[in-house]
């Protein structure tokens, strides 16, 4: 039974488990939204989901297709304007966890979602850009990143800092006056990395079942720090898998 799940499913389940009940979580669409809703339906019924479209306390019974999905407004405790969600809710540090994806990530948790390769004005690949991420990364109590791990993604130095992690290392966030705690946890399809409290460097602390340290090193574009006591995540439970798959299935069947 335990082999009966994909690496993406393990990643999403691990991310969901990371969210504590009763906290407020600023959620992006895609993997973060899936994981946050899985958490809400499983162990964290009082998780407060906040979407940048202005939906506070959304409780969607299906996965939203985008941050503009009506299911978010219909199920939210409150729908506020976009300026308000950023100014009154995110900026003052009211949100415990910011839940972000990344196109590139470096060892200090700096995130790039802007351009890859070439020059900013003449990039190899033009990505969507910043969205809400720079201020989510700056202001939330802590940041959880969910991203598939590969040499393309986990690189020594991001081509563009869209959202600041720990900058060039210890002290940078404080020096810049950022109030949030930064990217404490990165959850991938191979395992979990946590920022070392002293060096701020992302350190492999947990592996998903069946994954080796060498596999993770091979998917990391810098000399990877590994925790002395390396744990292994529990595989998804039957319940977690069933609920996750039911959630994913809702993306296919939109009411019309």
């Amino acid at each position: 039974m335990t082999a009966d799940y994909s690496a993406d499913e393990m990643m999403t389940v691990a991310a969901a488990r990371q969210l504590r009940d009763g906290t407020a979580c600023f959620v992006g669409i895609g993997l973060p939204s899936t994981a946050a809703n899985l958490a809400r339906v499983t162990h964290a019924p009082n998780l407060v989901l906040i979407y940048e479209s202005g939906c506070l306390g959304a409780k969607p019974d299906r996965l939203p297709l985008s941050i503009g999905d009506g299911v978010l407004a219909d199920t939210a405790d409150a729908v506020v304007s976009v300026p308000e969600v950023f100014n009154y809710w995110l900026q003052p540090g009211r949100i415990d966890v910011g839940f972000l994806g990344a196109a590139q990530l470096d060892r200090y948790g700096n995130i790039n979602t802007t351009v890859i390769g070439g020059d900013y004005t003449d990039p190899k690949v033009r990505l969507p850009g910043a969205g809400g991420a720079p201020e989510i990364a700056a202001s939330c109590g802590e940041v959880v990143v969910i991203v598939r791990q590969s040499l393309r993604t986990f690189i020594d130095r991001v081509d563009f800092v869209t959202s600041l992690g720990y900058g060039a290392g210890p002290g940078d966030r404080a020096r810049l006056g950022l109030r949030g705690g930064g990217p404490k946890t990165v959850i991938t399809d191979l395992g979990v990395l946590e920022a070392d409290p002293v060096s701020c460097e992302l350190t492999l602390t947990r592996l998903h079942p069946g994954v080796t340290v060498d596999q993770v090193r091979a998917a990391t574009g810098w000399p990877l720090a590994v925790a002395d006591e390396l744990a292994t995540n529990e595989p998804p439970t039957a319940d977690e898998l069933a609920i996750l798959r039911a959630l994913e299935a809702t993306k296919q069947a939109v009411p019309s």
Partner: protein, 272 residues
């Protein structure tokens, strides 16, 4: 009081070549029909402004309407990238596209400043990122009381803002609800405004979560049922997700894009 106009007349009168144009809608109530009319009327050299440029902006950019884009997130929401946007940025096709790039918090506050008649807004934003390297429109500002350094962004003041809403009454009072994003600010920040609506009614019955734009703060209202298709209109229609997915393939190649625009926009039957 807002004038009631046809979509064609509204765009003809209010959207001019070279204008700074914001078609807003935070992935809900996106004014697709108005965007198509801008393409049909072959507007050129527009500065397009929007927090979340998505498929309609991909179409405007691919159709050659824009020379500049001011934005914070450009993608096909829930699907992936915008290929026409990418082609314009990476290959200057069909014309070069200049970018001015912000965060959502910065863009939202720029609209707030515009709506408030202020030249700038202050936020905690952009700190430590590479965004300020690429525009002069992100600058430090010191608090005159504490000395703390924050970030300033200049007001956005579009020549014209276009939004879609659920309803208007005959005096041009506009009612929208659901996720209303930054539409009020974008309309109030603009010199002129055009609102397309699903329905024109005698009385605007109050709806929880409604945002009202009084008719005297709106330039023109056009009756355009389904004017946000394929995006959502809360209470009227859900997103045509098949189209959003199909767009990925349609827009990937220039030829298939041009064919689609010709058949579905340029030669489309235009509502009166």
């Amino acid at each position: 009081m807002a004038k009631l106009v046809s979509l064609a007349d509204g765009v003809a009168e209010l959207v001019r070549d070279g204008d700074t144009v914001a078609l807003e809608g935070f992935t809900h109530l996106i004014p697709f029909a108005a965007g198509h009319e801008i393409i049909r009327q072959r507007r050129r050299e527009l500065t397009l402004v929007r927090m979340t440029p998505d498929v309609i902006y991909d179409q405007l950019i691919g159709a050659g309407c824009a020379r500049r884009l001011v934005f914070s997130w450009g993608g096909n929401p829930g699907v992936g990238s915008l290929h026409r946007f990418r082609d314009a940025v990476q290959n200057s096709w069909p014309v070069p596209l200049e970018l001015e790039e912000h965060s959502h918090a910065g863009m939202a506050n720029r609209y707030v400043a515009g709506a408030s008649g202020l030249p700038f807004a202050v936020l905690r934003g952009y700190t430590g990122t590479d965004l300020p390297r690429h525009t002069t429109n992100i600058r430090p500002i010191d608090c005159p009381f504490t000395g703390e350094t924050l970030t300033a962004v200049p007001a956005l003041r579009p020549d014209v803002t276009v939004v879609h809403a659920q309803r208007a009454d005959r005096a041009g009072n506009v009612q929208m609800w659901g996720i209303t994003g930054v539409q009020k600010e974008a309309v109030l920040a603009a010199e002129r405004s055009l609102v397309t609506v699903e329905e024109i009614v005698d009385e605007l019955d109050p709806v929880p979560g409604q945002v009202i734009l009084p008719g005297w703060a709106v330039t023109a209202v056009a009756h355009v049922p389904d004017g946000a298709h394929p995006s959502y209109t809360q209470g009227y229609s859900v997103r045509d997700n098949d189209f959003y997915r199909a767009w990925d393939a349609i827009s990937r190649e220039r030829a298939s894009f041009q064919d689609w625009i010709a058949r579905h926009v340029l030669d489309a039957e235009v509502p009166a």
